[in-house]
């Protein structure tokens, strides 16, 4: 038995998969977020997968921000750390 690997997630790839779900069910991201999945309009499998994609997209975006931040000069980092919203973002 060998564990198989899927390709590493990317923002473009994950976004494309989410859009495919939204296209298939003909609803927007906001609608998807507010959809009552108990209505069986969206299968439980697809609802679970879409939510996971959203979590993955959020992690990718955060990782991108952290990468950009680490590449900044020290002075810029210090100025950004004083920015309340940015600190909250990194701590999330």
């Amino acid at each position: 038995m060998q564990i198989k690997r899927r390709s590493a997630p990317t923002i473009a790839g994950v976004s494309r998969q989410m859009k495919a779900f939204e296209f298939r069910y003909k609803i927007s991201t906001d609608d998807f977020l507010q959809q009552d999945f108990s209505g069986n309009a969206i299968s439980e499998d697809d609802a679970m997968e879409w939510r996971y994609l959203r979590e993955q997209l959020s992690a990718l975006q955060e990782a991108g921000i952290e990468k950009m931040y680490s590449a900044l000069p020290t002075g810029s980092k210090a100025r950004l750390k004083n920015c309340e919203n940015f600190s909250e973002l990194l701590a999330a």
């Binding site: 038995m1 997630p9 999945f37 992690a59 701590a91």
Partner: protein, 167 residues
Amino acid sequence: MKFTEYDHWFLEQAEGFIWDASCEHIGPYVTPTVTPDRPPWKAEWTVLFGDGFYFRVVENWYRRSANLGGRGVRKAFSFHYGPTNPVRDDEGTPLYSDDYQAIIRIDLDTDGRSAHLHYDGDDHIPQMRVQNLRISEVDPFRFIRAVVEHRSNHQSFDKIMGFTVIR
């Protein structure tokens, strides 16, 4: 749990089964993480048996707050066993269909419905109607072992897993 711990555990557990040559496997897959050893991650494994039945286990591990150590937490899973829908997705996983309802399906999702069972023709059975089984704590390999036992001796899943559904 950290991703590397999970990855090792999942492989070790998955290697503990011996499958008939006629079984078709999709996976087991463990997705690579966005950032090394940090959530989210996902595991999935589908085994299609030659007699028209299959199981599929999926686990989604989400991030926790950095204040809580940043380890993963299992927020969603789906463990399904039942007849195989011939209509499949691009990878060969049978699509869910009301015409091919699960014999047993154990679900935990983040949609507020919380952990529930689909069992014996009854859908969305909440924890309060299930005795002797903490639904949210069932691990995929306990489920797979129950499937193997069920296929071997045809005992019902409630007997094998020791739970009772209050009607």
